[in-house]
């Protein structure tokens, strides 16, 4: 695997801490420059005319570039476009910035710093596809005034072929799941739907619906200006381009970074100012991602090729540095309890299995588990995997299994009634309203 690790190709963006403990988006101007920045670069071509591309030209461009979705699933962008185009109906377009993942801030940072790129990406697609409706679906309501001003300015110069409607996404972990987002935009609840049919063929009010993460759209805007060859100058052959990452936890400068895909994990930690103390593990990909030990992270990179075989996930670029004075089992138990609460409650295995897993994890964390609990955690994790309308149970199971692997020694210690942690302060943010009962 080729690895691009040009340190100049990186932008640390400071994230202030909010009262909720969630990483907050950086303010414009916090970008520390570098010569190979893309999305987070101070771009001179901000108001340059948009190239006009046909749907076929866009499909070719995305295919040559090898752009994969940046919302977490990593699906090839050209395939989604080709599928929606093949319906030969005027589709609905959605820019997805629901960002329900509590440890992610990159979509918020992007929308604050470069809304123009996101909207240009939407504009290219809506022009080519003659979209019927276009939505910008945003989780952070604080962004709305700025985005509305941006949209008004664009309307004055007729930059968007179809007017963009702002919609606030509810503060739910699953708000960004494609079929749940389509359901919400159709006037329904945030409830994932069984596929097929894909949202691409039947989404918002039954229309073909193309939903892209906002970062994916920003890449599309840059690709249309600079071409596929330029895009591939960063990243790996199989996973080209740069990506935004949210780095938090035990690092000196929690940040949203832009790095080439395939950057080494230690370098990502360095770019966030380095670890504040010895790390025992890292949580990658998000709460439905996976833990890896600090030792495994030393040779891992920010790519699916590196992280998936390790039982972890690249997800939407979440990196949490976990310090060795905390208990990874207690932290995982908190996260699993949160994920169980965030189940949409529609599918039996998730509705029943996730609370059961949360109880088992809590027993393990609190030292009241028998050795059989470890086997039961494995068994029930297997039982919920692949048995839902969405991947929520799968992600929860991956988190648990990766925790049992990564914190295996700690689990044995807990079975013996001990814990190596020196502090019990929770590290990772979960939803505010439930935080007191944890």
């Amino acid at each position: 695997m080729t690895t691009t690790t040009d340190p100049n190709a990186t932008v640390p963006v400071r994230i202030a801490s909010r009262s909720t403990g969630l990483p907050a988006p950086a303010l414009a101007g916090d970008v520390v420059g570098g010569s190979h920045l893309r999305i987070l670069a101070a771009d001179q071509t901000r108001s340059a005319a948009l190239p006009r591309l046909s749907t076929d030209q866009l499909i070719d461009l995305l295919r040559q570039a090898g752009l994969q979705g940046r919302g977490g699933a990593g699906f090839p962008a050209w395939r989604k476009l080709a599928t929606v185009a093949a319906t030969r109906r005027r589709p609905v377009l959605v820019a997805n910035a629901a960002e329900g993942e509590p440890a992610s801030a990159k979509d918020r940072v992007l929308l604050r710093q470069r809304p123009d790129l996101v909207l240009d990406g939407l504009s290219l697609l809506s022009g080519a596809l003659q979209a019927r409706e276009v939505y910008l679906y945003v989780g952070d309501a604080d962004l709305l005034p700025g985005l509305q001003a941006e949209l008004d300015a664009r309307r004055a110069v007729r930059r968007d072929p179809v007017p963009v409607r702002l919609e606030v996404a509810p503060q739910l972990f699953l708000a960004g799941e494609e079929s749940a987002a389509a359901n919400w935009l159709s006037g329904g609840p945030v409830a994932p739907r069984t596929k097929p049919p894909l949202v691409l063929t039947s989404g918002v009010r039954g229309r073909p619906t193309l939903i892209h993460n906002v970062e994916t759209l920003a890449h599309i805007a840059l690709l249309a200006r600079h071409g596929a060859g330029w895009f591939r100058q960063a990243g790996t052959r199989d996973e080209p381009g740069t990506m935004l990452m949210t780095v938090s936890g035990a690092v000196r400068r929690p940040a949203v970074l832009e790095v080439p895909v395939g950057t080494s994990i230690p370098e990502v930690i360095d770019l966030a100012g380095g670890a504040t103390r010895r790390l025992s593990a890292l949580l990658l990909g998000g709460y439905g991602g996976g833990w890896i030990s600090a030792a495994a992270a030393a040779t891992a990179t920010t790519s699916r090729a590196s992280l998936t075989p390790l039982g972890s996930s690249l997800g939407a670029g979440v990196v949490v540095a976990f310090p060795d004075d905390r208990c990874g089992l207690a932290e995982t138990a908190r996260l699993v309890a949160y994920l169980a609460r965030e189940s949409a409650g529609q599918c039996g295995p998730c509705l029943n299995g996730l609370p059961h897993l949360a109880r088992l994890m809590q027993m393990l964390a609190s030292g009241s588990a028998t050795p059989a609990v470890l086997g039961e955690l494995e068994r029930v994790s297997g039982l919920v995997t692949g048995r839902g309308a969405c991947r929520h149970p799968d992600g929860t199971a991956r988190l648990i299994r990766s925790a049992l692997l990564t914190f295996g020694d700690e689990a044995q210690l807990h079975l013996a009634g001990r814990c190596s942690a020196r502090t019990t302060t929770p590290l990772l943010p979960v939803d505010q309203e439930h935080a007191s009962c944890l």
């Binding site: 739907r193 069984t194 529609q346 599918c347 039996g348 295995p349 048995r387 309308a389």
Partner: protein, 77 residues
């Protein structure tokens, strides 16, 4: 019970719409060769591809599901 092998991808596949299923269990009774029950009574598809000899039972299970949750998807392309 072992199930006779057909070329992978050539058989219709059982699929559960989990948002509809509430574990009534008729499918488990009609197709014990392919479907088991989990801790909470929901079906576990042990093998999604339906061999020819079970095709009638599979179609019947789809028909009688009171929640219209069990589906037969066409063979994978």
């Amino acid at each position: 019970m072992p199930v006779s092998e057909a070329p992978a991808g050539s058989q219709p596949r059982l699929s559960v719409d989990w948002t509809r299923c509430d574990g009534r269990g008729l499918c488990v009774e009609l197709l014990p060769e392919l479907i088991a029950r989990d801790d909470w009574g929901y079906p576990i598809i042990r093998r999604a591809e339906v061999p020819d000899r079970l095709g009638n039972y599979a179609r019947q299970a789809v028909r009688v599901c009171p929640r219209l949750a069990l589906r037969l998807l066409p063979p994978e392309a």
